[in-house]
C-alpha cells in the first residue's frame, strides 16, 4: 500500500516551469562571520537536476524542485553557469554554493565539475566554501577535490525526532546515518553545519519549539554550528496546501527567538536567518515588531546578543503556546497575530 503521506507530498508537487540552463538560479551577497570577523559572503544557487529524493518522494516543506530541470543539466551548461558565479565571487573570502539538491551527489553535480569549481575558487582566493548535501552523500570520496578552500558541509537534519521526520517532513533519515555523515565530513577535514526545522507542518507552535530545541541539543555534539530554519511556505508543497487551507501557519518570530534562547548553552553556535521573515509565507509576528526582531536575529547571527523586542503580541504568542498540549494542528485563528485588528490602513 502506498504511503498516504508520500502521496500527499507528491500530489502537491507540480512539474517545474522551463528554465534557462546556462543561468544560475540566483546570486546575491550577505553578511557572514569568518574566523570571528564579519565578511561579505558570495552566495549562488546552481541550476541542476535537483534533489534525488524530491524526484522520488520529496519533503513536505521543500519547494526547491520548482527551480530544477527534470531532464538534468549538462556539464557544459553547468560550466556556463559557473563562469557567472565566479565573476560574482570576485574578491569574496567566503562562498556559499547551493544547488536545489545535494552538491555532494555525484549524479547531480559531476565530481569533475565540482573539483574544477573548487580549484577555481581556491585560485580566486576564496577561503571557505559552504555546500549543502543530504547526509547519504557526505563521504570522503565525494569531497576529494585536491586544491580547494576549507569546506563546510551543511546537512539538513530537520529534526532529531523519528516521528517528526516520518510523519511531518517525509525524510527517511536515521539518527545513525546523520552522525556517521557528520563524522565523515569531519574526517575529510570539513566543518559541519546542521539545519533544524522550526515548525514543520502538522506540529503546533509549542510542539515545534520543543522539537527544535531537542533536535539542536541532540545534534550539538556532532556539528560545528546549527542554523534554525523556520518553515516558510514554498510553492506546490504540502506546507502550501495546509497553509492555504488554514490548517497550519508559519512560526512566530518569538518562537525563533525562544529556540535561540533555550539553546544558547548547547555548546555550538546556533542562529537563524528566517527565509521570508516578516511575510505571511515566512516566520512573522504581528507586523509591528517584525522588523525589530528580524534585525535582532541578523545581529545575533553576526555575533551580537539575543534578539529582543517589546510588543503586546508576545502575550498572544504565550497564550497560544499554553494551548500547545491540546491543539491538534499548527493553525491559529485567522488574524490572531495582529490581535484581529485590520492592517495599518492607508
Amino acid at each position: 500500500m502506498a504511503d498516504v503521506f508520500a502521496e500527499f507530498v507528491n500530489g502537491a508537487k507540480q512539474e517545474p516551469p522551463a528554465h534557462p540552463l546556462d543561468q544560475p538560479v540566483a546570486t546575491w551577497t550577505e553578511r557572514e562571520v569568518l574566523d570571528g570577523a564579519e565578511v561579505e559572503a558570495g552566495v549562488a544557487i546552481l541550476r541542476t537536476r535537483g534533489c534525488y529524493w524530491s524526484i522520488r518522494e520529496g519533503c513536505a516543506m521543500c519547494g526547491y524542485f520548482n527551480d530544477t530541470v527534470p531532464g538534468g543539466v549538462s556539464t557544459e551548461a553547468l560550466l556556463a553557469q559557473w563562469a557567472q558565479v565566479m565573476r560574482h565571487l570576485d574578491g569574496k573570502r567566503y562562498a556559499k554554493i547551493y544547488t536545489s539538491g545535494s552538491f555532494l551527489d555525484p549524479t547531480e553535480v559531476p565530481l569533475d565539475f565540482a573539483a574544477q569549481a573548487m580549484a577555481e575558487m581556491h585560485a580566486a582566493g576564496v577561503e571557505k566554501v559552504l555546500v549543502e548535501s543530504l547526509p547519504e552523500f557526505v563521504h570522503a570520496r565525494h569531497m576529494d577535490y585536491g586544491a580547494a578552500p576549507a569546506l563546510e558541509v551543511a546537512i539538513g537534519l530537520e529534526s532529531a525526532t523519528p516521528l517528526v521526520l516520518d510523519k511531518c517532513v517525509n525524510k527517511r533519515l536515521k539518527w545513525d546515518g546523520f552522525t556517521r555523515s557528520c563524522a565523515n565530513a569531519r574526517d575529510a577535514g570539513a566543518s559541519v553545519k546542521a539545519y533544524v526545522l522550526l515548525k514543520p507542518p502538522f506540529l503546533n507552535e509549542a510542539q515545534a519549539i520543543d522539537d527544535a530545541v531537542a533536535s539542536v541539543e541532540r545534534a550539538a555534539p556532532h556539528v560545528d554550528k546549527v542554523s534554525i530554519n523556520p518553515v516558510n511556505v514554498q510553492r506546490h508543497t504540502v506546507v502550501e496546501r495546509l497553509w492555504k487551507r488554514g490548517e497550519w501557519s508559519a512560526p512566530w518570530l518569538w518562537s525563533v527567538a525562544e529556540v535561540l534562547r533555550r539553546t544558547a548553552d548547547c555548546g555550538v553556535r546556533v542562529y537563524s536567518d528566517p527565509t521570508g521573515g516578516g511575510t505571511q509565507r515566512g516566520a512573522h509576528n504581528c507586523g509591528t515588531c517584525d522588523r525589530t526582531l528580524l534585525d535582532g536575529l541578523t545581529a545575533h547571527r553576526l555575533g551580537g546578543g539575543m534578539p529582543a523586542a517589546a510588543c503586546d503580541c508576545r502575550g498572544r504568542w504565550k497564550a497560544l503556546l499554553a494551548q500547545g498540549g491540546v491543539r491538534r494542528d499548527g493553525a491559529e485563528p485567522h488574524g490572531y497575530r495582529r490581535g484581529f485588528r485590520a492592517g495599518r490602513g492607508f
Binding site: F5, D166, C168, L203, E247, A319, V326, R328, P333, F340
Partner: protein
Amino acid sequence: MEPLAHEGLGRLLELHGRRTPLALGADAGTKLLPGKSLGDGGVLKLGRRKLALPSQPLGRDTAQAPFLALSDDVAVLDGAAAHHPRQLVEMLAAAREEAGWRRLLYAPTVEPAGMPLLAYLGVDLFDSLTAELRGVAGFRLEQGDWIPDAKATAASNRKALAGWLARIRSALEQGRLRELVERTALHNPRVTQLLHHSRDLLATRGARRATGIRAGALSFDHPAVNEWRRRLERFAPPAEGMVLLLLPCSARKPYHWSNSHRRFHRTLRSLNNWLALHVVSVTSPLGLVPRELEMLHPAAHYDVGVTGHWDANEREMFGRQLERLRPEDNYKKAVVHAGSASGMLAELLRERGVEVLETGAERPVSGAGLGALGKACRTALRGVASLSGRDRSCGEATGLAQVQFGKLAAPLLTAPVQGRWPRLRLGELANFSPRIGGFALTVRGAATLAEAGGPVVEATEFRLRGDLFAVGVTGTRGKFRNGDQVAVEQGGEITAAGVARMAPSEMVAMERGLAVEVRNRG
C-alpha cells in the same frame, strides 16, 4: 449515552450526567488533557471519566476520506475550523458512517458562531481554545459574536461559551435549533455558506420533527419547507375536471379553523356543486397548500409575517409550485381570490394556459369580497360535472396518502375510504390523526406497508407494553428517517405501529433512548 432529542443531524445526548453538545474546557467539569508524547492526541475529561482522543493527524491530508480520526469513544473532525464550507459539509455527510453513532463527534477549535450549525449537523463536542485566544486578544463573546472589550479574558470567555452551549442545547431540546442557526447565519458568511451547502444533506437525512416554523428570510431553505414543495409533485386533486380555487392563507393554523376560512366555507357551501371546488391556500414560504394537506406538518405549524408584498423569490417559488400542481391538466378552470397575491397568481396561471376568473377583491374576507367570491365561483362552476361527497372523499384520501407514503400508498388505498375530511379512515389500515396531520397507520396498516417494502423496525421478542426503546432494536428494514411512521416486528410478526424517533442505524447502535413512539399495538 442516551439520545434525548434530535434536530437535523444533531442530537441532544445524555452522557455521564452531562448533556452534549458541549464545549470542552468551557462546560463545568469538562477538559482537554494533553497527550503524553508528541503525536498522542491526549484525553478528554467528562467529570471523572476520561475518554482517549485519537492521535494527532500527523502526515494526514484531512481533505481526503476517511475524514475522521477515530479512537474508541471519540471521532475527531480535524480541520473543521478551516475547511472550505463545501468540503466540510462533505466531511459531515460521511461522519456518521465513519464514526458510527456511539462515538462522540468532536470538531476542534471552531468559532462559537459556527457551533449551532455544526451541532445541527451532528457535532457533539467543541472546545474553548478559540474563545480563550479571543479573550487574550481583547474580545468578549456575546451571543456567538465577538465584541472588543479590553477587560475580556480567557476565563470570562470560557464562561460565556458555556452559556452559548447551554443555549444551543435548549434550542435543540425545543426543536428550535434551526432558528438559532438561521440567526447566526444571517450575519456570518461562513455559516451562511455552510447552511446553504448542507441543504440537501438535511433534506435527505435530517430528522423530521414537527415543531413550528417561525418563518424568516432563510426559511425558504428549511428542510421541512423544501420537502413540502417537493412532495407536492406526488399530489393529485381529488377528481378530474374540478375548479381550482386559490384562497389566501390565515394566521390561525390549520386554515379551516380560522375565521376567514370559515367565512369562505359558509359562502361556498351555499353554491350548487360546491364540492367540485378544490380549495388551495396560497402562502409563503410553503407556496401552495391543498385543503387535504393542511393538517400536515409544516402546513399547520408555521408562522410568517404577512406584508402584502411578494418579492421575486416568492414569485419564482409560486411559479415552480404551480408547475408541480399542473393546473392546466388537473383543473377545468381557476378562481383566484387571494388578496394581494391575486394579480401575480392569475398571471402565472394564464402563462400556463389556464382559464382564470379573478374576483378582484382587495379584502377577500369582507362582505363585498365574499360576494365577489360567490359570484365568481358560481360562474366557474357552470357546466362542471357534479362531484359526489363519496367520490370527493376517496380522491382526498388518495391525494393525502400519496403525499404521505409515496409509492407505498397503493396497498393502503385498497381499503375502503370512510368518513369525510378531515376525519377520513382507510378501513382498518389507517385513520386520521391530528398529531400526525394525516393518516396514522394501525398495526394492520403498518403490516400492509411492510409487505410492500415499507419501513420495519425489528425488535427482540418481549411483550411490548409502551414505546420501543433502542435496547430492544435488533435491526431495520426499508428506508425511513427519524420522524417517519414504522412497523415494529417481533418474531416475524408485526406487533405495533408508531413513529421512529431515531435514525435507522442509530436505533440499532444505541443502547438507550426512545427508538419508536408506539401508537397502536396488535
